[in-house]
Structures are given as structure tokens and as C-alpha cells.
Symmetry: C2
Subunit: 350 residues, 2 copies
């Protein structure tokens, strides 16, 4: 039996409100257009070529993927401008990257000479050119390097066969990072090295982008669906959150406690203020604990707690990690399922 | 190129040490044999029919699955004694359950009349008999019901066509729960209702099982691989942990900080004492933060921190949730890959 109505779906299922998603795509593109910069959606949030295609049709210049194996899925689906803002390390991975560069324009980021040299070996072996941005370390202190080291890396990339220096990358591109970016751009300019692209990113990046006029593009993933974390950070509001996880109450034997059929396998185990999701129908409930297949809801503050069999809609804490748990997302308008998408790049860890 | 050596694998990859796994299978079966009770492995830890088959060959009576969709994978693979210790709620699910009962012996658990009645409708429609255990609520206060309500449910099940009362279930079956179990069994005996099965479960269940002589079977998942949580709980030791996630250092620009290519998509985001995994080669390191594709390691206490390109082995905090993130597990002895298993029941949320 083909399922065409939301009310026919089993739980847990992940719904994408198409009206909200389409509005979110248009809003982010309009923001970048207004700033005069490129928009490059990060596909990690949806992992679905058909959705990326809608972002491109709305004006995006290309896509960002976080892994070579994710990029392969999108190149297979016809995408040709691929950025992987990640240090690609290890011979098998760099060879796959080089093979990908035979089929698409591929840009990666690097933060050390070891990473540059590994990719250069594979590019030379395959006879392809790979573009490289140097990542500046941000306030998040994850990957990335200092302005002085960035200059050295840019010089090294320019001096290496089969590599092309493409510019600078930063994540997250908070306004506070601008001085570091300016310092690096000045060093590059003094050395006569052009930074064609200055790529910023992160969920809050579009809000801050006008404060970093050096940026030439934005990479954002979450803005297509938004989530509870983004509401809490004041990047958006609940009415713009396009993803909901449908869940069923499976146990309600104690006053104040109900158990959902959706635990960490369905809504993940990241938390927002000690909660695992926001239950739309019961704003006073607290989804305060999960096991793999159980969500524990404290309903003691709810005037009319749900009963066994009742279905609720959960806005997830973090959409990207929820997408990665599911084989399908359903694009819906009201009770009608218009799209049943395979999450084609789900579980692509390589 | 076929990969037959661990050193040819990309990272992150999940290795299962076959010697350890085989010893873990034998040890748990021997423990149950010694107690004179049945062992029923929970497949949620591995989600792989071939591994469950090894557990059956070692003496297990059948398997436990947490979802109907997981059970379907195992029935398709030839398993015929399936327990689903879960409240199955919703018409589509109960119909799938009834269809499954046409192909295998299926036992579920219930904790309310609403759940019993939903399953009864589907069983009657399909003309099958479904066995039901009543779940007693444990100290974990998740699903389950009280002794008095359990008696009423048992009576209701016995009085309903196409259902068979099979006994009692409890999770976790800590020794402290014995008085509740005894009280319920006495109520059932007084009512002339036989509880053929008394099913206990949980990672620590085998350790406590001799203190609950009423148990007739144990359901345990994690004992096949063990994990850091189980080491911390003193159920096992690191040398018995069979699962390791291979990860590569991709950035090491700051003294005391290295970044791995394995984040919440590879090792999950459950924590043990604020850490996301135990790095075997660097016992003084702290894997203290993850993003989806990055693991943050504080190496400030390590005499010789790892460098970019170095591969490390991580014992996960919780094996079951790691299995659910990956498409393959690799069974290895030393550097030889003997098995490449598809995680057949991965992502089965229905």
C-alpha cells in the first residue's frame, strides 16, 4: 500500500514541512543576494540531492559536503561544484578525492603542510588539479591555523604542482573573528597572493555576515530546516522550523510520565537545556531522557497529558544529526505526503 | 580493490575483535548454563544475522529485537523464535507484527490494556496467535506496570482470543527488583495463571541473575562486545571490549589539542564521565567534545601526543548506538579482516 498521507505513516517518521523549507531556502538566498555574496548550502543537514537541487535553482553557487563519501553521492547525482571544508587525510581518502576531481570542481580546506602534501601526492598521481582554501582557526578552537601559518601554507600550495590556492575558510564566522581574517588577508596581499574566496559558515553566520565585508560566500546547512538549538540561539523562531519527528505514546502508567516510541535512534541524544526535543502539542512537557527506543516525558506540568496511542510532533534539538539516523525524510503539506526522499548520503563517514 | 587488511581500511571504521567476541559469546552462554536458565541475546548491539547465528549455535534459545522492523530483518534471515520486549502501538505496526507471527513464534511485552487490545485486533484479523509477557516496572521507571495491574493484564490476555499469556518481563532485572517479581508471581499463582517465562535483562543482569532464582531467561545485548560504560559499571574490563573505532588525527596545530576524523556520526554523542570514547594508545588523553565529523582530544597530559595522519583505536562509550551509525562492521584477527558484515538492521526505527 503506497503511503500518501501523513496519518498513514508509522512512527517515528521525519516530516519536512515543504512550505517552511521553501521559505527558508528563499530567505537565505535573499540574504546572500542582499549582501552580494555567494550562498553555498552545506548538505549535511539534509543529505538529499533533490533538496540540494532546489537550493541551486534558488541561486546557490554549489554545495559543501563534509566527507569525500558524501561528495561522491552528490557528484553521482550530477553536482559539479563541490567544496569539502575538511582536512582530507589518508591515502585511500586522498585517492578517492583525486578521482572525484576528475569528474567535478573540487575545493578542500587544509590547516597543515602534512594535509597539503598528502592531497598533492594523490592529485599528481591522478593528474588532476585540486583547489585548496586555508582554514583559519576560529573562537571554537577546532581545526584551522594562525594568520602567519596560513601565509606559509598559501605559499606552499602555490608552489606545489596540481594544487591551486583558492582563498580562506573560517568556521564559525562570528563577527569577532574579523580582525584575524583581516590580518591574514593583509599578509597574503603583501606577499602578492590573491584570496579569491573568503568562505564563512555556521548557523549564525548569515546574521553576522554584514559585519565581515571580506566574506565572498557563506556555507550554512541548518537554515534549510532550522531546529531548537537555532531557536535558543535566536537565529530563528519555532514557526520556521521545518523538521518534525512524529512519535507515538507507548506507555502512560504513572501520573506525570509518558514514554514515547522515539529515543536516541530517532531524535538523537544531543540536548537543549537538558531536553531532547520540543513537543509541539505539549509545550509544558519535558522530554528529559532517552534510551535508544524510548523517550521519557515529564508531563507533570501538562493540564491534559497524552494517552497511549496518541501521536505527537517533536521539533528536534539538532536537525543534521536526526537526518543521519533515518533512511527516509517525508516532504509534506498538511496531511499530504508530496515527497518521500531516500537520505542518500546518510551514514557516509569516509 | 578488495580490502583484506585492517591497515587498508579508511577511518572511521568499526572493528570487532573476533577472538574477544567469541570469548564473550561463550562466557555469557556458560553463565546462563551454570544458572540453568535460557540465554536470549538482544540483537540491538550488533544488528547482524550472522552474529546472532553464532549466539544461537553457542546455545541461545532465540533472539530479542526492540522493533518490529528489526524482527522482520531477522525473520527474513531465518530466525524463528523472536521476542520483542516492547509495547507495539499503532495499526500499521500491529499488522506488521501479526504478519510476522505467520512466519515465526513471536512474543511481545505489554504494560497496558490499550496495548493488548491493539495487538489482539491485528492478531484476530490475521488469524494468528501472539504470545504476550507483562512487563513489570523496574527501578528505572520506564515502561512496565505494578504487580496488581500485571495480574489484571494477565487475566485480560488469557480471556482474549488469539493471545497467549507467556509470563513476566523486567528490565533491568537488578536484584533489588526481586520482591516485586515475587509479589506478582504469588498473585498469578493465587489466580491459577502460569507464568511460563520470567525474563530478565540488562548489561548487569547476568551478574545479578543468581540473586533472582525466579528468572527463566536472560536478555542481554551489550555483553557480546562490551563497552566503556560496562567497564565503568564494573561488568567487565577493557581487555574484553571487542569493538574499536579506528580514527585518524586530522589536525594538531595547538600543543595539547588534536582533532580526530571521528565525531558524533562515528562514535555517537553519549558520554562517560564527560568523555566520548577511550583512546587505547593514549590513556591519558581526554576525548572531551564531538561535532558530527570532529573529535576533540585534550592531549595535554600525554607525553607524546599523536601527529596528523596517526591512526588510533577508540573503545566506544556505548556499543549499540555506534553500531546503528555504521553500514559495516569488520570482524578482525590482528591485521586480518575475516568478516565484512552489513549492519542489516541498522536504522530500523519502526
Amino acid at each position: 500500500m503506497a503511503t500518501t498521507r501523513v496519518s498513514d505513516l508509522e512512527t517515528p517518521s521525519v516530516l519536512i514541512d515543504l512550505d517552511k523549507m521553501e521559505r527558508n531556502i528563499a530567505t537565505m538566498q535573499a540574504r546572500c543576494d542582499e549582501l552580494g555574496i555567494n550562498f553555498r548550502p552545506h548538505i549535511k543537514t539534509h543529505k538529499i540531492p533533490d533538496i540540494a537541487r532546489r537550493q541551486i535553482e534558488a541561486g546557490a553557487v554549489g554545495i559543501a559536503c563534509q566527507k569525500v563519501s558524501e561528495a561522491e553521492v552528490f557528484v553521482d547525482a550530477g553536482f559539479r561544484d563541490i567544496q569539502i571544508p575538511y582536512n582530507i587525510v589518508g591515502e585511500r581518502k586522498t585517492r578517492r578525492l583525486a578521482a572525484l576531481a576528475q569528474r567535478a570542481d573540487v575545493t578542500v580546506t587544509v590547516d597543515s603542510q602534512a594535509v597539503v602534501d598528502g592531497i598533492a601526492d594523490a592529485a599528481q598521481e591522478a593528474g588532476v588539479t585540486i583547489s585548496m582554501m586555508v582554514e583559519l582557526v576560529s573562537l571554537g578552537e577546532r581545526t584551522g591555523t594562525t594568520p602567519a601559518a596560513a601565509l606559509e601554507l598559501a605559499r606552499h600550495i602555490e608552489a606545489t604542482d596540481n594544487l591551486r590556492f583558492a582563498g580562506l575558510m573560517i568556521y564559525p564566522s562570528d563577527a569577532a573573528i574579523r580582525p584575524r581574517l583581516q590580518e591574514t588577508l593583509a599578509l597574503l596581499a603583501d606577499a602578492g597572493i590573491a584570496a579569491e574566496t573568503v568562505s564563512g559558515g555556521g548557523s549564525g553566520a548569515s546574521r553576522d555576515a554584514h559585519m565581515i565585508p571580506e566574506l565572498t560566500e557563506l556555507r550554512v546547512g541548518t537554515s534549510i530546516f532550522w531546529d531548537w538549538n537555532c531557536v535558543t540561539a535566536d537565529y530563528t523562531s519555532f514557526d520556521k522550523c521545518a523538521m518534525r519527528v512524529l512519535a507515538t505514546v507507548v506507555s502512560a502508567n504513572e501520573p506525570g510520565r509518558v514514554i514515547l516510541d522515539s529515543g536516541s535512534k530517532a531524535i538523537h541524544s544531543e540536548t537543549n537545556n537538558g531536553q531532547y526535543g520540543y513537543i509541539i502539542e505539549y509545550p509544558d512537557a519535558r522530554l528529559h531522557k532517552v534510551n535508544e527506543e524510548h523517550g521519557y516525558v515529564d508531563c507533570s506540568a501538562c493540564p491534559n497529558p497524552p494517552k497511549v496511542g496518541e501521536i505527537v510532533h517533536i521539533i528536534p534539538v539538532h536537525t543534521c544529526v536526526v537526518t543521519n539516523l533515518h533512511n527516509q525524510l517525508y516532504g509534506v503539506r498538511g496531511d499530504t505526503i508530496e515527497e518521500s526522499w531516500d537520505v542518500a548520503a546518510r551514514g557516509m563517514v569516509w
